[in-house]
Symmetry: C2
Subunit: 451 residues, 2 copies
C-alpha cells in the first residue's frame, strides 16, 4: 500500500436502470424505474450502507428515442440529488451539468443550494455539450467548435468560482439587536464582463460547510486535460490501458502543479465497469447476458469509437501497427479515442480484443470478486489512479454484489472505510480547502466594472 | 357557504425568515436561517400538520445587498423544494421561476423532475422578470419592454406545456421480454420554431401522477390578466379592495372561459398577510414591532407604489378624487399599482390610510384570530376568491399561530380539511385533468418542422 494515499476513492454511477442499455430487462426491478425517485433512493441507500464516497450521474438533456434501450438520462440531476440529499445522510453527490446550455448565475445558484441542502456533500462534473440532438433542444445555434467550447467553459468556471465567494455573510453569532445581517465586507460583486458572459453578482447563496462544491472533470483531449488540470479536483475520464492511464494521470498532475495547485488537489477516478460472478465462467455468462450483442456488433461499435470503418478493417488486425488518428471532423470527445487507441498500442490488440476490454468507453473487469478487486487495487497501489467511478451494469443488483463481495476485499487490502467520519465530501476525499485547491487566476484586466 | 366551492384553498408563503424584512431579528429563530434547509423543513412540517394545501415561494435571482433586511430569496426554489418533497409528504409545492432567464427545455425538465419526486405535488408560478439587478446577472441584454416580455412568456408556456406531453411512455405492465420500453406512439417531438425559441424535443422526463405541474400566475396588468386567463390555474396576485378584487376575478374567469377553459380550471388565491394577537391591541402592537417603520416612511413607500412623489402629495388627501395612472416608464408590475389605486378609489383612502391596509403589496389583516379568519371568509363566501396565499410575517412562529388559532375557525365555518385525502396537488385543488384545464391553442402554422 503506497503511503501517499490513504485508501481508494470509490464513487458509484447510478444513472437510470444501470450502466447497460439492456438493464431495464434484467433483474428484479421495475423496467420503468429510470423515472422513479424511490429507485434512486434505494440505490443510494445501498451505496450508503457500503460507506461509498459518493454517487455519480452523467447527464445529457435530450431523449435518446430508441426504446430498445433505457433512457440513460431522464430526471434532472440537481433536482434528483436534492431529493436524495434530504433522504440519505453522509454520502456525496457528484452530478454532471453542462456549461453549454446553462447560465453561470443560475447554475452556480442551484449547485450552491444543493451544497447547502446536503451540508457540503456536492460535486459538480462540468462538461461542454457536443451532441447535435442536445443543441436542437436549445435553439438553432450551431455547435461551437472544440476550441470555442473550451474557451467558453474556462470563462464559465471562472465566473462560477467567483460567484461562489461573492457573498460570504456571517452565519453564526449574529446580533439580533445589531443593525444588519451582514456588513459591507460580506459582499464582493464580481462585475464580470468577458467574451461569453456578463455577470454582475453577487450570488444570493452563501458558502456551504465545504466552502463550495467539489469540481469534477472528464477531459481527455489536449484542451480537456488542461481544463481538468486547471479546475478539476476529481478527474473522471476514460482510462483503459495501464501505461497510457499512467501517462494521462502524470500529465494532469504535472499541469495542475504548474497552475499553482497543491499535489493533493487532484484525485483521478476513471470509470470502471465490474461484471461479477462467483466463478470466472459465471461472470462471463453474466457479461453475455448483459451485452446481448453479437461479436460483429461489438466490433463495429469499437471501430466507430476509433473513427474506423468496420467494413474495411480486419477485426483481428493488430491495431498497434496502424497510425490511429481521430477524424478531422470528429464531434465526440477526443478522450474516448485516445484511451482506446492507447490500450490497443500498449497491448497489441485487435478490434475483437478491444470489444472485450471496454464497455461504454470505460474499463471492463469480468470475473470473481477477487479478480475485480485486484483490477481496482492494481492501478491504485502505485498511484496511477486514486480510485474509480464504478458503473454497475444493472441497478440495484450489481451494486449490491459489489458492496457485499468486492468492498470487503478493498477494506482488508487497502483500508477502505467501514464508517463515515467526515461531514463533507471535500474532507472525505482529503482535498485541500476550497480556496487553496483551485487558485483564482482570472486575469485582472477582465475584471471590468459594469458600473 | 356558497355551494360552488367546497372550502377555501390555503397556501403558505415560506420565503426566507418570513414575509417581513425585519423577521431575521424577531422571534426565537436563528437570524441566518434563510439559508438553512432545516428551517424550511420545519416550516413545511408545521404547514403539513395544519393540512395546508401547499407551500409557496416567490423568487428573484439576485441578491438585495441591503444587510438590514433579510435576503427574501436565497436558495434556488426547485432545488429547495426537491429536498422538501423528499422529506415532507402530502403537501403541495408551488414555486416561482422566470421565463426570462431560463431555457424552456431545462426548466420543463426540472419542473417535471420535481413533479415526479413529489408524486404530483408541484405547481409553477411562471413570471417574467423586470428587475435591472436581475438582468445584470444574465448578460448585458436590455430589459425587454412589457409587451415583448409577455409575448416571450406566451411562447415559453406553449413550449413547456407541449414538452410536458412530448414523451408519454408506459410506466406500468411493461413486458421485459418485449423489444422496447416504449413504442413509437410514446414520442411526440414538438419541433417548435418560434419568435424566441427553437426546441425540437421530446422532453426526456415522462408525466407525473398529476400529468404535469399546476400552473400559477400573478398577472395584474391587461396583458398579465390575459396571460393568467390563458395559462393560470392558480392566480396569485395583488387584490386589495373588495370591489376591485371582485372585478379582477370576474375578468380573469370570463377570459378563461373565452379561451375554452372550464370554469373550475381557475382558482384565485391572492396574497394575504395576517398579524395576529389575542386582542386587537396586542395585534396592533405586534404590527408595530414587525414594521419598525415611521409613519412617514410607510407613507412614502405607498406613494412610490402609486408612482406619486411623496414630497408633493398631502398624506391625508382622499386619493379617490385623483386621476391615478401608472407612470409611462414604470418597470414594476402594473398589478401592484392597479390593486392599490382600486382600493383607494373604492374606499376613499389617503396615503396614510393605505399604509395600514397593505403590506408588501398584499392585503393586510391585523387582529384577533376571529378577525383574521373573517377577513379570509368574507372574500371567499361569495366567490370573489377561492382562497389565499398566506404570508406569515415571521417564520415559523406566525405560521404556528395561524395554524393553531385561525385554521380551526376555517374548519368550523368553511370545511377546511383536517386530513389529506388526495395524492396530487391538482386533485386536492379540485382542478380538472391537465389536458382539459389548459387546451393547447398554439397555432398550427407555428409547428414548423426542424427536420
Amino acid at each position: 500500500m503506497a503511503p501517499h494515499r490513504p485508501r481508494p476513492i470509490i464513487a458509484i454511477g447510478i444513472n437510470s436502470t444501470g450502466y447497460h442499455g439492456n438493464s431495464w430487462k434484467l433483474g428484479e426491478g421495475d423496467p420503468a424505474r429510470y423515472q422513479q425517485f424511490d429507485h434512486y433512493r434505494r440505490v443510494t441507500e445501498i451505496a450508503h450502507a457500503g460507506v461509498i464516497d459518493a454517487v455519480f450521474v452523467s447527464d445529457h438533456p435530450a431523449l435518446m428515442e430508441e426504446g430498445a434501450t433505457r433512457p440513460l438520462h431522464s430526471l434532472d440531476p440537481i433536482t434528483l440529488f436534492a431529493g436524495l440529499a434530504a433522504a440519505v445522510p453522509d454520502i456525496g453527490f457528484i452530478l454532471t451539468a453542462s456549461t453549454s446550455y446553462n447560465s453561470p448565475y443560475n447554475l452556480a445558484r442551484r449547485l450552491a443550494t444543493l451544497d447547502l441542502i446536503s451540508g457540503g456533500r456536492t460535486g459538480w462534473n462540468a462538461v461542454a455539450s457536443f451532441n447535435p440532438k442536445v443543441a436542437a433542444n436549445f435553439g438553432s445555434a450551431p455547435i461551437d467548435d472544440h476550441e470555442v467550447r473550451y474557451r467558453r467553459s474556462h470563462e464559465f468556471l471562472d465566473v462560477v468560482l467567483r460567484l461562489w465567494s461573492s457573498f460570504v455573510p456571517p452565519t453564526a453569532d449574529i446580533d439580533k439587536d445589531g443593525p444588519a445581517l451582514w456588513g459591507k465586507g460580506a459582499i464582493r460583486p464580481i462585475d464580470h464582463a468577458g467574451e461569453f458572459f456578463h455577470v454582475r453578482g453577487p450570488l444570493n447563496v452563501p458558502p456551504s460547510p465545504q466552502g463550495r462544491p467539489v469540481i469534477a472533470q472528464a477531459g481527455g483531449s489536449a484542451q480537456g486535460i488542461t481544463f481538468a488540470a486547471r479546475y478539476g479536483e476529481l478527474i473522471y475520464g476514460s482510462a483503459l490501458g495501464r501505461q497510457s492511464a499512467a501517462a494521462w494521470s502524470r500529465t494532469i498532475r504535472a499541469q495542475a502543479l504548474g497552475f499553482g495547485r497543491p499535489a493533493d488537489s487532484v484525485k483521478i477516478i476513471p470509470g470502471f465497469v465490474p461484471v461479477i460472478g462467483s466463478t470466472q465462467a459465471e461472470a462471463i455468462r453474466r457479461y453475455e447476458l448483459l451485452s446481448q450483442e453479437t461479436a460483429d456488433a461489438a466490433i463495429a461499435r469499437v471501430a466507430r469509437t476509433l473513427d474506423l470503418d468496420p467494413a474495411t478493417v480486419d477485426p483481428d488486425e493488430n491495431l498497434a501497427k496502424r497510425d490511429l488518428r481521430p477524424a478531422a471532423d470528429r464531434i465526440a470527445p477526443i478522450g474516448g479515442f485516445e484511451a482506446l487507441a492507447g490500450l490497443a498500442r500498449e497491448e497489441n490488440l485487435s478490434l475483437r480484443d478491444l470489444a472485450t476490454r471496454v464497455d461504454g468507453g470505460h474499463r471492463l473487469s469480468v470475473g470473481t470478486p477477487d479478480v475485480v478487486a485486484e483490477a481496482i487495487l492494481d492501478w491504485w497501489r502505485d498511484g496511477t489512479v486514486d480510485g474509480f467511478v464504478v458503473q454497475p451494469p444493472v441497478l440495484p443488483e450489481d451494486l449490491t454484489v459489489f458492496v457485499d463481495e468486492v468492498l470487503p476485499i478493498l477494506r482488508r487490502e487497502a483500508g477502505f472505510p467501514d464508517k463515515y467520519t467526515e461531514p463533507t465530501l471535500r474532507r472525505r476525499l482529503a482535498l485541500p480547502d476550497a480556496d487553496d485547491s483551485i487558485p483564482n487566476t482570472l486575469p485582472e484586466q477582465k475584471k471590468v466594472s459594469l458600473g
